[in-house]
């Protein structure tokens, strides 16, 4: 009798009902704010904290005309790229090791990757001050050893910002690469070896190309998170090391120029969105190629 009135598992209404909470959340918390933000870019700025709902292109003109903003954009992209590439270069090896090891407690190694997430990201970023600062670990040690006579400027530099970002993002890279390595059928490597490859050649022919989708996913994630970062440059960078996120913060919270702040936000959103779409276009193909191995 329930069968006559109840919903079947294939019922479209059931699908909508199950998806509804997520759909509503995404609409309310993502789409609506972005639309509001996009609308704000056409508002007229009157004075600090005051804007008028009259249509203007002045905010966009200001962004497009002023190279000050472009410089920030380029720097943000550069820092994001450098961070992502360092993460890839440094992160591939631990991922490979965790995948390849005979160690019986692999889960422990994976757990160690996640442990940093148990500590607040802000606190982890702050901890660099004690390492890189004027009286920090490095300077104190070098002074003590007499290798330098005055403290090096390590903190509040772009290098410190990149260091902090790499520290924050490396686990994402390692996990992404690990997952794609884990998806490789190991008999492929044996096949390559049996046909005359040394283990280094088998790595180049099989393991590396088949792990590229994970590496690319890690690069995307690290780039987007680094380019969108705000806390790390704020804490570890000097005034010249501010990234686009800091610029937006300053425009909105410092100058109280909401329309321009909204414009800058939408610019960053479009930039990172474009990168993500370009990635999924390209990696869509690679993912299919990877799926074939199964």
């Amino acid at each position: 009798m329930t069968a006559a009135t109840g919903w079947s598992i294939n019922d479209r209404r059931l699908a909508w009902a199950l998806a509804a909470p997520t759909v509503i959340l995404i609409i309310l918390l993502m789409i609506v704010p972005i639309v509001v933000m996009a609308a704000y870019t056409f508002f007229t700025f009157v004075t600090a904290g005051v804007e008028e709902a009259t249509f203007t292109l002045a905010n966009w003109q200001e962004f497009l005309a002023d190279s000050y903003y472009h410089g920030f954009l380029f720097k943000t992209v550069r820092v994001g790229l450098v961070t992502a590439i360092i993460c890839a270069l440094v992160g591939y090896f631990p991922a490979y090791y965790i995948w390849a090891t005979d160690f019986r407690h692999k889960w422990l190694l994976l757990l160690l990757l996640i442990v940093p997430f148990w500590i607040s990201f802000t606190i982890r970023t702050f901890s660099w001050i004690h390492i890189l600062g004027e009286q920090g670990l490095i300077n104190a040690t070098l002074l003590q050893l007499g290798l330098i006579t005055e403290p090096l400027r390590l903190l509040y530099t772009e290098a410190a910002v990149i260091m902090g970002l790499v520290h924050f993002l490396l686990p994402y890279m390692i996990l992404n690469v690990y997952v794609s390595l884990e998806g490789i059928d190991r008999s492929l490597i044996l096949a390559a070896r049996s046909m005359g490859c040394t283990s280094a050649q088998a790595f180049r022919e099989v393991t590396l190309p088949l792990s590229l989708p994970g590496l690319a996913a890690g690069l995307l994630l690290c780039f987007v998170l680094a380019a969108g970062s705000y806390v790390t440059p704020q804490l570890l960078g000097g005034p010249r090391d501010a990234l686009f996120g800091n610029l937006i913060y300053d425009t909105i919270m410092g100058q109280l120029n909401w329309p321009l702040g909204a414009t800058l936000s939408i610019v960053l959103f479009l930039l990172l969105g474009f990168v993500a779409v370009a990635y999924s276009r390209y990696m869509g193909l690679s993912q299919i190629m990877k799926g074939m191995g199964a």
């Binding site: 008999s187 492929l188 044996l190 096949a191 049996s194 046909m195 190309p209 190629m289 990877k290």
Partner: protein, 376 residues
């Protein structure tokens, strides 16, 4: 005389304290098709992996083409490997997959193209060079894997259950295809399977393994008709294994009583005495069922059909002959199917019976199986 293509001498493989393969000795002649057959965990795959260099042997020696390979790394062993799951490189085209082994043997490019083309023709997929593996069916992928393994003319082709991922029809087709290609190329092939039908259909020689040891080495008909051990008799085909006692011996023929006065005459092995307990192995195909009136003829006695199963060309019967267990017989259906409950007469073929020691389960006979698979 040619040295054997592959030779094992007293090979042990231990994993920690577990002994996967024990005292494995086998000599395989050039161009032979040898199957390692046994249940899972019997060590057959370990033997294959030992030839390939994927596992380290703990004792003994392995030679390929007369050269010891114990210390030779896998990539220098010149072996072709075919895996159960094909293991084609998913990111490389069919051409690049097949060309792989040639590339690492520094074969010049035009020669590579020629040989890849020829190998693909051999597996009947000549137009597939540019395709990616996922665009091919399972059977086609396995053919590409076969082409890839033979294209560089390895000393030995190793196949690890290559057919078990295929569906039943494709499996039978590939059986014939692999065998044909192996003959054409004259390559020495070692084939691992747990499927006795595959082993019987394809092999020149079958090595039956159990618990890390060789149970029997022989041609398909030898292991089927003349099993050395009760394990072989049970694993290959369904055999009747009946307990009996030696009633009398006369002129090298022993009369074995399997139930009361029901006796079977079998060639007597050396040292058999009246009163000895034995196990009698009889293939169901070697038991012929005839009309009741034939009872009393040599090597026959009466029985009753307990069950009859129609199998198309054949019928499978279970027959009660008064002993503790029923006998299975498979006969061609010539005119009639004996119904359940029919009183019939069972005729034995004395040539088709094997006597086993009831304790050790090993064959009681004069002719011991040699551990050698000779060249043709």
């Amino acid at each position: 005389m040619d040295s054997p293509a592959v030779e094992f001498q007293d090979v042990d493989v231990d994993y920690g304290t577990f002994s996967a393969v024990k005292a494995f000795s086998l000599s395989i002649g050039k161009g032979r098709f040898v199957t390692l057959l046994g249940p899972s965990g019997c060590g057959k795959t370990t033997v294959l992996r030992a030839i390939a260099g994927l596992v380290t042997i703990s004792a003994g020696s392995i030679t390929i083409g007369g050269k010891r390979v114990d210390q030779v790394p896998i990539y220098k062993r010149n072996i072709g490997l075919v895996f159960q799951n094909y293991a084609l490189f998913p990111h490389k085209s069919v051409f690049d997959n097949v060309a792989f082994g040639l590339k690492y043997r520094n074969v010049p490019k035009p020669e590579i193209a020629r040989r890849v083309g020829r190998a693909l023709e051999m597996v009947r997929l000549p137009g597939s060079q540019k395709k990616l593996p996922h665009q091919l069916s399972g059977g086609q992928q396995q053919r590409i894997a076969l082409a890839r393994a033979i294209v560089f003319e390895p000393e030995v082709l190793l196949m690890d259950e290559p057919l078990s991922a295929l569906d039943a029809n494709m499996r039978e087709e590939m059986r014939g295809e692999i065998k044909k290609i192996q003959k054409e190329t004259g390559i020495t092939a070692i084939f691992v399977t747990h499927d006795q039908e595959e082993a019987l259909a394809m092999s020149d020689q079958i090595v039956v393994m159990n618990a890390g040891r060789i149970e029997q080495i022989g041609t398909p008909s030898q292991v089927y008709e003349q099993p050395d051990t009760s394990f072989v008799a049970n694993f290959i085909g369904k055999a009747n294994i009946v307990a009996g006692t030696v009633a009398s011996i006369a002129q090298d023929m022993a009369a074995i009583s399997i139930a009361g006065d029901r006796t079977v005459g079998v060639a007597a092995p050396d040292g058999l005495k009246p009163g000895d307990a034995v196990k009698l192995v009889m293939r169901p195909q070697r038991l012929r069922i005839t009309a009741e009136t034939d009872a009393g003829a040599p090597n026959s006695f009466p029985g009753r059909v307990v069950s009859a199963a129609y199998l198309g060309g054949n019928a499978a019967y279970e027959i009660d002959v008064g002993g503790p267990s029923v006998l299975r017989a498979v006969n061609p259906i010539a005119g009639r199917l004996w119904p359940e409950g029919a009183d019939i007469s069972v005729v034995f073929d004395p040539q088709g019976c094997v006597l086993l020691d009831p304790v050790s389960g090993r064959k009681l006979s004069q002719g011991a199986a040699a551990g050698t698979v000779p060249s043709p």
